[in-house]
Symmetry: C2
DNA sequence: CGAGGGTTTGAAGTGCATCAAATAGTGTGG
DNA sequence: CCACACTATTTGATGCACTTCAAACCCTCG
C-alpha cells in the first residue's frame, strides 16, 4: 500500500504510534490494504490467525455464532480501532468472527511483527497493555449492562455514549452509527424489542426519533433514567 | 509475612513466577498477608487502588453494584488467581467491588511494584499480557453465554467446566464450589430460577443432585445439551 | 414504479423474576 | 446429642419482559 497513507495511520493510532522507528519501515512493507463489502466475512472463529487489522473505513462486527445460527455480538468497531490481535498470547486462533457491516477498508499486518514489537519494545508493550485493559473494562461494562439493565435503559445508555463520543455540545442530536437491527443485536435484543423499547424511551424521557436521527432535549433526564440501573456515575463512559 | 510461604506462592504462580530474582526480595518485603471473613469487603469500586491481591484461600466475589442494590457478578475467583491489578494502566481506581464469600486469605502487594516489574522485565510483562488475554477470552465467553444460552444450558456449561477443572476421570461426581445462591448470581440468574433450571437439567439429561453434590452418568449427553447453544466446541474451556 | 430490505406493529407464547410460603440444612448453646 | 434460630433452598402462583411468528409499512435504489 502507499507509504504515506499507512504512515499516517500508524502515527495517529493510539497504540501503533509507539512503534519503534526502526520497525516502522518493516510494518509498512508488510502491511496490506484490504477492502470488504457489506456482509463479507473478514475471518471466522477458530481460523488460524496470521494478521491483525486496523480499521480505516466502515464498521466491523465482532461476534460469536452457534450451530443453530444465532449470534452474540461482542463488539462493533470503526475507524481507529484494531482487532484480531489477541491470539498472539494464546493459541494463535481467532476467538471470534469478524465481518463487514458495510463498505470496510482495513490495514492487515502480520501478527509476527506485532509480537516481535511487543517483545522488543517496552514502550510499545506498555501501550498495548493499556489498550487491553481498556478493552477489558469496556467488556465488564457490557456484561454489567446486559445483566442489570432492561432494554430501554440499555438503549438510553447507548445513546448517551454516542453523544459523549461526538461531543455535540448542546445540539444533542445524533445519528445511529449503523442499522437499527445491528444496534439491537449489539445490545443483545431482537429488532422488534429494540423498536418497542425505543418508543418507550421516547415516552418516558421525551426524545425525538426520526429514522436514524435521535434528538435529545434533556440529557440529564435521559441519564437519570438510563444510569439509574448502572454502577457507573453519570455519563457512563466507554 | 513469612518469607518461605510467600516465596512458595510467588514461585508457583503462573504469572508471578516470572518476577526477576532481584525484585523478588522487594516483593517479599512489601507483601502483606490479609484475612477476611465471610461477606467482608476487600475493596469497593472507584476506590483509589494501591494493592493487587493473590488469593491463597477461599473464594472472592468480583462484582458491580447499582444504587438500588442489585449486583452483577463479574467473576468468582479462588486460589492461585490474582485480582485488582488492572487499574495500573488506566485511572488507578478499582473498577469493580471485591468481597470475601467465606474465610479468605490474601497476599496484598503494592501496585507500584507490579508496574515497575512490568516496565523493566519483558519476560514478566509477556506473562502478564498472556494472563490479560486469557481473562479477556473468558469474559467474551461469559458475555456469549448470557446472551445466547438459557438458564439450564448455562448451568450445564458451568458443570462441564467444573468437571474439566477437576479432571475427575470417570468418577464424574463434583461438588459446587460455593453456595447455590452464588452460583446462580454468577450465572446471572435468581436463586429460584437456578433451582428450577437445575431440576429441568436433571430431567433432561439425567444427572443426580444431592445437596451440593452433582453426579453425571453421561457427560457427552450433558455437553450435547449445554454446548448446543454455544460457539465453543465440545468441552467449553475456561 | 416496483422489488427488497429495514422497521414497525400486533397477537400470542416463553422464560425468568417476583412475592410468598414451606422445607431442608447448618451451627449454636444448653 | 437435642432443640432452637437462622440461613439456604425449594416450591407455588402470578406478573412482566422479551421473543416469536406474522403481517403491514416504509424507504431506498435500481
Amino acid at each position: 500500500m502507499q507509504e504515506d497513507t499507512l504512515q499516517n495511520w500508524l502515527k495517529h493510532n493510539d497504540i501503533l504510534s509507539h512503534i519503534d522507528t526502526k520497525s516502522l519501515q518493516i510494518f509498512i512493507n508488510q502491511a496490506r490494504l484490504q477492502t470488504f463489502k457489506k456482509d463479507e466475512p473478514i475471518f471466522i472463529q477458530n481460523d488460524v490467525s496470521h494478521h491483525f487489522y486496523i480499521i480505516t473505513k466502515g464498521w466491523v462486527k465482532i461476534f460469536r455464532e452457534t450451530l443453530d445460527g444465532s449470534q452474540a455480538i461482542i463488539d462493533m468497531l470503526s475507524s481507529p480501532h484494531i482487532f484480531g490481535e489477541k491470539s498472539i498470547f494464546t493459541d494463535r486462533r481467532y476467538d471470534y468472527n469478524a465481518s463487514a457491516t458495510n463498505a470496510v477498508e482495513l490495514i492487515a499486518i502480520p501478527l509476527d511483527l506485532l509480537k516481535n514489537e511487543i517483545d522488543t519494545n517496552p514502550d510499545f508493550a506498555h501501550a498495548f497493555m493499556k489498550m487491553m485493559a481498556t478493552h477489558h473494562k469496556k467488556q465488564e461494562n457490557d456484561l454489567e449492562h446486559i445483566t442489570l439493565q432492561k432494554a430501554p435503559e440499555r438503549i438510553g445508555c447507548f445513546i448517551l455514549r454516542l453523544i459523549d463520543q461526538h461531543q455535540t455540545e448542546k445540539t444533542s442530536s445524533i445519528n445511529l452509527p449503523y442499522d437499527k437491527t445491528l444496534v439491537a443485536a449489539r445490545l443483545g435484543m431482537k429488532p422488534e424489542t429494540f423498536s418497542r423499547a425505543l418508543n418507550k424511551l421516547r415516552q418516558d424521557v421525551g426524545i425525538e426519533i426520526s429514522g436514524a436521527t435521535i434528538t435529545i432535549d434533556n440529557i440529564s433526564e435521559l441519564s437519570r433514567y438510563a444510569c439509574g440501573a448502572c454502577s457507573a456515575e453519570f455519563p457512563c463512559k466507554s
